[in-house]
């Protein structure tokens, strides 16, 4: 048992060294490891190894501490496994499209890209007003763009649903998440990132479980090892 625990600990140490190597690689080359097939495979392999070691840790560890600690232990490690599953799903299935829309009243249902990729919506989507504010030194302070949705091909003066898109507040449309990435200087258009990620909720669930578990484990049983209180006469309880 102790040997297995030791193997897992040193296995995790190996993964920490790998992550350090990746960080140095990213720092020197400026390349994202996910941008190459090899890097992506290495990341997934590391995640799977970490998941396996976590499963081993959960299955073979004997937790002798109090119930909150024990509960935290299981929630935390299950959270890690869920998080890893979420990241693997994201790595394998996430699709991203960078989209440029002009605020000239036109709207589209299907969006085709140069690399052959495309995605479709049930409704027509167009870009409304774009707003930008700047600081006195010329740096951007606020971006905002309106997305307009029509049930059919847009006609002049037609009332449609509007959604305001700002940085930090993406909009969810038919399973796609849309982000405002940039706007044109004269507010004539905006660059959007459209993302379809089935693993998103799995990751968030994993994060919540992981954090709950960590707080449960680390903030329970703090009194353990406290020096015993003394009575008036100096005798220990």
């Amino acid at each position: 048992m102790t040997k297995l625990y030791r193997i897992c600990c040193f296995g995790m140490l190996f993964i920490a060294v790998v992550s350090l190597a990746v960080t140095l690689y990213v720092g020197v080359t400026g390349k994202n490891p996910n941008s190459s097939g090899f890097g992506r495979t290495a990341v997934i392999a590391s995640l799977v190894c970490m998941g396996v070691m976590t499963v081993v840790c959960v299955c073979f560890s004997k937790v002798r501490e109090k119930s909150v600690y024990r509960l935290g232990f299981y929630i935390l490690h299950c959270g890690v496994i869920v998080l890893i599953v979420g990241f693997v799903i994201t790595n394998l299935t996430c699709r991203k499209y960078t989209l440029y829309l002009e605020s000239n009243g036109s709207a589209y249902r299907t969006f085709n890209f140069e690399d052959g990729a495309s995605f479709s919506l049930d409704r027509y989507m167009g870009l409304g007003d774009v707003k930008t504010e700047y600081y006195d030194d010329g740096n951007p302070r606020h971006y905002e763009a309106k997305l307009i949705f029509y049930d059919r091909a847009p006609a002049p003066g037609e009332i449609a649903e509007e959604k305001v898109l700002t940085v930090n507040h993406p909009v969810r449309v038919e399973g796609y998440k849309m982000y405002l990435m940039n706007v044109e200087e004269n507010d004539a258009g905006a660059v959007l990132l459209v993302k379809y990620n089935p693993g998103e909720y799995v990751i968030i669930f994993g994060i919540v479980a992981l954090l709950l578990g960590i707080f449960g484990m680390c903030f329970s049983d703090f009194g353990r090892g406290k020096p015993p209180k003394k009575r008036k006469g100096g005798e220990e309880r």
Binding site: C9, T23, F87, L211, P227
Partner: protein, 263 residues
């Protein structure tokens, strides 16, 4: 005039922390009470000025930017806040965890951190790009500051223990058990924020990479502390963890690397 007063306040604060640290070394029993009182007086004065500086930074942000930004808009403001973070951490370790006699580490850490802003450009302010205007900004930084302050304490205690051949594992584990939740919260809030703003939970940014290494190191240290035979490795990991904290905290800002975290 304002700059001179601020500079003076910073110097007095750092000096108070250093003097309180000097009084924390109590050799003769007869002078012990007096030394404790003096230590507390200097620490309290330092804390009050430090707190005043944080409030001043908040007011300055309000006046300059017209928005009540939290006082974290430059490395100068972040360091002043970090110096103050050692106080709640000290209270927690001493009062809640009943680890008495470690005040000197907190005093020294506060003093060293407070020395930085004394030599920094007071007027330097990061403009807040739209990406930073998020509800996650303040909790992300506060969590990291608390965890960094605990990392510094754990590091100092471990180094002292190694040099003197003493065993301070209990307080070191308590520091780790307090810093790890805050570090995790800071990291995962950052991940959720990154998903909101850039569409990726994890983008392998340089600072993200270093923070992951730091997180993994402390996670391993906590695991290693659970087994008697692995404790010596745990101590090495605590020291390595703090080195990684320093790199994470300062690397992208000092060397101005291409990172979303260097503003």
């Amino acid at each position: 005039m304002r700059v001179v007063i601020v500079r003076l306040a910073l110097l007095v604060t750092a000096l108070c922390y250093y003097i309180a640290f000097a009084f924390s070394f109590r050799t003769k029993r007869a002078r012990q009470k007096k030394f404790v009182r003096l230590q507390n007086v200097f620490y309290t004065v330092g804390l009050l000025i430090n707190f005043g500086m944080v409030v001043y930074n908040f007011v300055i942000n309000l006046v300059t930017n017209g928005v009540g930004y939290a006082p974290f808009v430059s490395m100068f403001q972040v360091l002043i806040f970090l110096a103050l973070c050692f106080f709640p951490v000290y209270l927690f370790i001493e009062k809640v965890c009943a680890c008495v006699g470690y005040s000197r580490y907190f005093l020294l850490a506060s003093a060293v951190v407070m020395t930085g802003p004394c030599f920094m450009d007071i007027a330097d302010v990061w403009t807040f790009p739209p990406a930073l205007q998020s509800v996650f900004f303040v909790p992300h930084i506060v969590c990291y500051m608390l965890s960094y302050s605990l990392a510094a304490i754990a590091f100092m205690i471990t180094v002292t223990a190694l040099l003197k051949g003493e065993n301070h594992d209990r307080v070191c584990v308590l520091c780790l058990r307090t810093l790890f939740p805050f570090m995790s919260l800071g990291m995962f809030l950052g991940a959720i924020w990154a998903d909101q703003v850039w569409g990726d939970f994890w983008a392998w940014d340089v600072k993200e990479g270093w923070s992951l290494c730091t997180w993994l190191t402390y996670m391993l240290a906590l695991h290693f502390y659970r087994r008697e035979k692995l404790k010596r490795y745990a101590r090495v990991l605590v020291i390595a963890g703090f080195v990684l904290v320093v790199i994470t905290f300062l690397f992208s800002n000092v060397f101005k690397v291409d990172s979303v975290h260097s503003y």
